[in-house]
């Protein structure tokens, strides 16, 4: 036990004495995460702002006077260009195709007359709009003009025809209902965060442990420094455990720092996730959630460290270890993605699958949906699988073929 403590201490000293190590293990992941999310947020916001502030270029064929008046009266800002012949219409279509114009509205000839002289049984005049969905400006123009402005225009014309619109409205839906959204704000916030948090934890925990773990074991073998420890009277299992536990503490600490940073920078990142529309979603964690998460995180750190240590034991060099770890990292990433887009209540047997279950439960804890049963199974499987892996690691440490190759 004494030996294990010394090994643990040495591995910790190795990281904490080295400024470069502190930076790459604890600070870099946070910088990368916050940087990327912040950048995505800013870009998304400025993109939305740009689209919203763009004045749509609208070609209109056979524009009726009532529509020109409608634009004027409502203070709508369109760059209106009129089409008078077939050649101009073809040019307008080309411009929409190339993204130079945003929308084309085709009125029937004598639209105003047709509206004014309408008799029951006549064909209802049709306005046609043309746009290019691959162009952001054009899509937005279509939404705003075809979807909203033309509807308002219709209401205007309709009220001119029937007088009071309420007569034919029959009923309104939610025209005056501010309280229509019934949701637990905290739960909703947790759900939004829960979608991406397990994914980030997975990446950060694993990536953090990967760099240190491969160096700690395969690196020591490669440098010939492992044998010097094998020459001391301490048990091989103490060396193995000292290394796995230090790896677990370091990666656990690194992930906790990352999560703390993530919660701190949540507003910035949320902005990015929702594309600048602003959101009132907040994340608050209660004591039970924090304890459940902390214990589970520790178990996950334990499992990941065991996996990485096991792979590193069988590798001869750090490089070899890194390439062996890569497929496992990919697997962990895929599992994280799977939980990100998992909907509905997962079946109970899903909670027996290591790695996947911990991501599920993390997500559920944040969404306040985790049951003690799910949590218990997940914690138990994670710890048991880690313990089995550590058993294999200790066995490998006793094998001369593996250790002194």
């Amino acid at each position: 036990m004494n030996g294990m403590g010394s090994i643990f201490k040495k591995e910790m000293t190795r990281i904490f004495k080295d400024k470069k190590m502190i930076f790459s293990v604890f600070i870099l992941p946070v910088l990368i995460m916050v940087g990327i999310m912040g950048l995505v947020g800013n870009l998304a916001t400025s993109m939305v702002d740009d689209i919203e502030s763009h004045i749509p270029i609208v070609y209109i064929q056979d524009e009726p006077d009532s529509f020109a008046a409608f634009i004027q009266d409502n203070g709508l800002e369109y760059d209106v260009r009129l089409i008078s012949d077939q050649q101009e219409r073809e040019d307008a279509e080309d411009q929409i195709l190339n993204g130079e114009a945003d929308l084309m509205i085709e009125f029937p000839a004598d639209f105003d007359t047709a509206i004014a002289s309408y008799q029951a049984g006549d064909e209802v005049p049709q306005i046609k709009t043309y746009y290019n969905p691959s162009e952001d400006y054009s899509s937005e123009a279509y939404n705003v003009i075809s979807g909203q402005a033309l509807e308002t225009y219709r209401q205007t014309l309709l009220s001119q025809r029937v007088g009071n619109l309420d007569q034919i409205a029959v009923f309104n839906v939610n025209s005056d209902n501010e309280d229509m959204i019934i949701q637990d704000e905290e739960k909703a916030g947790g759900k939004a965060v829960g979608m991406m948090l397990p994914y980030f934890i997975t990446i950060l925990l694993f990536a953090g442990a990967m760099g240190i773990g491969t160096d700690m074991i395969a690196g020591e073998k490669e440098r010939g420094t492992m044998a010097s420890m094998l020459m001391t009277p301490i048990k091989r299992s103490s060396i193995a455990l000292g290394k796995v536990f230090s790896l677990m503490s370091l990666s656990g600490l690194s992930s906790i720092i990352s999560i703390a940073a993530m919660v701190a920078f949540m507003p910035l990142m949320m902005k990015g996730m929702t594309g600048g529309s602003g959101t009132s979603l907040t994340l608050t964690l209660n004591a039970a959630q924090i304890v459940m998460m902390a214990v589970l995180l520790l178990a996950i750190a334990f499992l990941y460290s065991a996996i990485i240590a096991l792979i590193s034991v069988f590798a001869k060099t750090t490089k070899e270890a890194s390439s062996f770890v890569m497929p496992v990292y990919m697997l962990v990433l895929v599992v994280g993605l799977m939980t990100m887009f998992q909907t509905g209540t997962p079946k109970t047997n899903m909670f027996f699958i290591p790695i996947y279950n911990s991501a599920l439960v993390l997500k559920n804890i944040l969404a306040r949906e985790a049951t003690m049963y799910q949590y218990g199974i997940t914690l138990a499987t994670t710890v048991i699988v880690s313990a089995v892996l550590i058993g294999v690691i200790v066995k490998a440490f006793n094998s001369e073929k593996i250790m002194s190759a």
Partner: protein
């Protein structure tokens, strides 16, 4: 004392290793039925060409690898049954076992001292003595990666002796050292012998074996072909120096084949 009884070590070669040594036999016998006894108060030298099995023998004694056949007793403890007790009583040094380059000699000395459960006061005294003897004081706090080859070797020797072992096993201890440092190492080994310790070294340098070793075992192809004091070996071959004696043994051994 060390007692090796009929030690045999067979390695399994992988495909690449088989190609490299141009053989189709996947088994390579590195040590073949070797027996020897070495006692406290002597320097015993294993002398032989590269690949003779010297390092393998030493690694078996140090419990780093397991004998395929035979037994090795170190101070009465069998290496396979009681590896921890064996490791407690020996200090082992070989060029391919290194100190972690990120740490200082000072840290490594304390670290290995703790792993050997050396009491703090004793550790301080050991450090004082060894650091002074090998002139480590000046670079004790520098990371090992910044040290020269000679400094590294001195540091490795000091660290391997932190627990004041009764038995010291050095695999080619002067390899890569300049003449001055090499001399200080061999002098220290003599000092250890004079203190009543058992020193086992392996070497392929004849002059070093001649001057340093009280008894020499000549190993060729994993087998001990001769053993004795320098004068024994010279008398047996009727030669004037160890190099000539070695070649007499070598010829008679290789002539058999």
């Amino acid at each position: 004392m060390i007692e090796i009884q009929n030690l045999t070590k067979v390695y399994k070669l992988n495909k690449k290793q088989m190609q490299e040594s141009k053989t189709k036999n996947p088994l390579k016998t590195a040590v073949d039925g070797l027996s020897l006894t070495a006692d406290y108060g002597e320097i015993y030298g294993l002398l032989g060409p590269n690949g003779a099995g010297k390092t393998t023998t030493l690694r078996c004694i140090a419990t780093l690898i397991k004998p395929t056949k035979g037994e090795i007793y170190v101070s009465g403890h069998e290496v396979q049954k009681d590896g921890e007790a064996v490791r407690k009583s020996i200090g082992f040094l070989t060029s391919d076992i290194k100190l972690d380059p990120h740490f200082s000699v000072d840290y490594m000395f304390d670290f290995f001292g703790r792993l050997h459960t050396v009491p703090p006061t004793e550790m301080k005294a050991r450090k004082e003595e060894l650091f002074n003897y090998f002139g480590i004081r000046d670079f004790a706090h520098k990371p090992i990666k910044e040290l020269s080859t000679g400094m590294k070797q001195k540091a490795a020797i000091a660290v391997s002796l932190v627990h004041n072992p009764k038995i010291v096993i050095f695999d080619e201890p002067t390899n890569g050292l300049d003449i001055v440092t090499a001399r200080s190492v061999t002098d220290y080994l003599k000092k250890l012998r004079d203190e009543g310790k058992l020193v086992i070294v392996s070497t392929h340098i004849m002059s070093e074996a001649e001057k340093l070793c009280d008894r020499i075992g000549i190993v060729i192809d994993g087998q001990k072909v001769a053993e004795g004091t320098l004068s024994n070996l010279l008398a047996a071959t009727n030669t004037q120096n160890l190099e000539d004696a070695f070649f007499e043994f070598y010829k008679s051994r290789k002539g058999d084949e």
